[in-house]
């Protein structure tokens, strides 16, 4: 006897303590995040088992990258997480730089850090907005997506594109800091700090939201470590870990301290994201203050530029040499890591000395966090499931690659 609901199919899958267990399909099209299906097993209103059905937006990015030259892979892997485009490509760039034995100039490292943090703020606002709409809190959704526009504007000023920046390239970055960026950022920071106080009032401290999120989906510290959770979800459980502490880009110079929560529930994960926006704003301000002078791309790539187009360097743009398309790395293997908005991303690059990667393995934060879906909602009611989903900031295109 099947229960048919519009868009969902339920069927009985067995009995548990005399009650019938119903299988409930949510998705792959649902009103939030990307395409992903959740198969819930319900005992009455209580979730007894969750089966996340991933793979709806799998695009063979790892395999495709083996068929392209190194520089052409950058804009391909950006498509995993276009809302976080600098963070997602940076470890790949660093991996190839290690194989090319090229070091970016200090100014480029700082500029990368600035864009990474702008991306992180935009990504967290995206996650908070979706977290809001999961709970039918339309105001949070509108506010977060509106304020994200401020940071997309900053990224647009810096790189010339709102989302897929393709900003970091091997040996440096593609644009210098534009005129007036510092002033625009100072205004954006003051605005955002004001807004975060409003976010606390309307979302974090709102009794309606507290009622939905507090003590829901609690992830214990030991459990978070053993499941391999990452990013704000891990830090909300009280683990002092952030891939930025490894010290890539300009983070070692910026005295970075991660935000660590302690309760590990859905509300704490929202809190960590809100506080991380503050930390990111501070990091950008410090990076802008300490921004060293100098070139934005390694000298190795500026030597062969014809004098006719050298005027671009004075305007803060770059020109790439002709050999950039067919860069040959030395044979070897590199592992690089970076902290994205959603968590830690790992790249494993194998090169056999050709112009294309031999193998590029990517472990994305969402792919690591998807296991939390099988653990956290169990024992909660169906009503709590969207709250847990929203608090995890899961991004299907990133997990499926």
């Amino acid at each position: 006897m099947a229960i048919k609901l519009p868009g969902m199919y339920g069927r009985e899958v067995g009995e548990r303590e005399g009650y019938r267990i119903v299988e409930l399909f949510i998705g792959p099209q649902h009103p939030a995040s990307g395409h992903m299906r959740m198969i819930l097993y319900l005992d009455g209103d209580v979730v007894v088992k969750v089966d996340p059905d991933i793979g709806y937006v799998h695009r063979t990015i790892e395999k495709l990258s083996e068929t392209r030259e190194y520089v052409r892979v950058i804009s391909l892997i950006e498509r995993m997480t276009i809302i976080d485009a600098c963070n997602v490509t940076l470890p790949y760039i660093e991996a190839v730089e290690k194989l090319l034995d090229v070091e970016p100039p200090p100014r480029a490292k700082y500029l990368r850090t600035i864009l990474c943090e702008i991306n992180r703020i935009a990504s967290h606002l995206y996650g908070l907005g979706l977290g809001g709409i999961f709970l039918n809190h339309s105001t949070m959704y509108m506010w977060a997506f509106g304020d994200r526009e401020v940071f997309l504007h900053l990224a647009n000023m810096l790189t010339g594109a709102r989302l897929t920046h393709t900003y970091s390239v091997f040996g440096g970055v593609r644009r210098d800091l534009p005129q007036g960026f510092k002033d625009e950022f100072a205004k954006a920071k003051r605005y955002m700090l004001k807004r975060l106080k409003e976010y606390d009032k309307i979302f974090y401290n709102n009794p309606v939201i507290r009622g939905r999120l507090e003590n829901v989906g609690v992830l214990e510290k030991e459990q978070a470590i053993s499941l391999g959770a990452t990013g704000p979800n891990l830090r909300a459980s009280g683990v002092y870990y952030d891939a930025r502490l490894i010290g890539y880009a300009a983070y070692p110079d910026l005295d970075f301290r991660p935000v660590v929560g302690k309760h590990g529930d859905a509300l704490e994960r929202i809190w960590v994201r809100l506080r991380e926006i503050e930390v990111s704003l501070d990091l950008i301000e410090r990076a802008l203050k300490e921004l060293p002078e100098g070139p934005i791309i390694n000298e190795r790539f500026t030597k062969g530029i014809p004098p006719k187009v050298r005027h671009w360097f004075e305007k803060g743009f770059i020109k790439l040499p002709g050999g950039y398309v067919r860069l040959k790395t030395r044979a070897g293997e590199v592992i690089t890591r970076a902290e994205m908005g959603h968590g830690e991303i790992t790249y494993y690059l194998v090169s056999n000395g050709d112009i294309k990667p031999y193998r590029l393995r990517v472990v994305t934060p969402s792919a690591r966090n998807v296991i939390l879906f099988t653990v956290l909602p169990v024992g909660h009611t169906l009503m709590d499931f969207p709250a847990i989903y929203g608090s995890l900031d899961y991004f299907p295109p990133e997990a499926d690659r």
Binding site: T139, A161, P207
Partner: protein
């Protein structure tokens, strides 16, 4: 399980409700940060990566743009009466990464501020070198179109504020 976890300080329910409503009400007094798109267009910052424009006369036919294009939107063509290979452009495939502009050794390629065009067919989106040159001239005209342009400026109170500018300034 919930009992021992509730160590978070409790909030004053009435105050929190009033704060939440108050925050929303205060925000209502502020102007919206919406760009009314079809009537107004955004004036993009300098160096915005829109459609790629091509100059046939400056091009030396080195094919670097076709080699670096990650989406294979640029392909090399034989043009009758020309010894060199020339690049053609497929707008439908372009991802606006702008790497072709960065690698062009003679500045034959440039960015435009336009990134929206409507096509009723697929075929005109795939342009050979001659078509691309003519199309680039048309897009350059479109850049100067009479539509009012608004420039986003960050505002400490509202977030983004749109200021009226006459036309897109800054030449390439």
């Amino acid at each position: 399980m919930g009992e021992e976890k509730s160590s978070r300080p409790r909030i004053n329910l009435i105050k929190a409700h009033i704060d939440a409503i108050g925050a929303a009400l205060r925000r209502m007094t502020k102007p919206p940060m919406t760009l009314m798109f079809p009537d107004y267009e955004e004036a993009w910052p300098e160096g915005y990566r829109g459609f790629i424009l091509y100059d046939y006369d400056t091009c030396i036919g080195c094919s670097l743009c076709a080699q670096i294009c990650p989406a294979r939107a640029i392909k090399m063509y034989r043009v009758p009466g020309d010894k060199k290979m020339r690049p053609g452009y497929n707008v439908g495939r372009c991802i606006f990464c702008g790497l072709c502009v960065d690698i062009c050794p003679v500045d034959a390629l440039s960015y435009s501020y336009v990134h929206d065009e409507v096509y009723s067919e697929v075929k005109p989106m795939n342009m050979d070198p001659i078509d691309w040159t003519l199309w680039s001239k048309r897009i350059k005209e479109k850049e100067k179109s009479a539509k009012p342009k608004l420039k986003p400026v960050i505002d400490e109170d509202v977030g983004l504020r749109y200021e009226v500018v006459k036309s897109v300034e800054g030449e390439k």
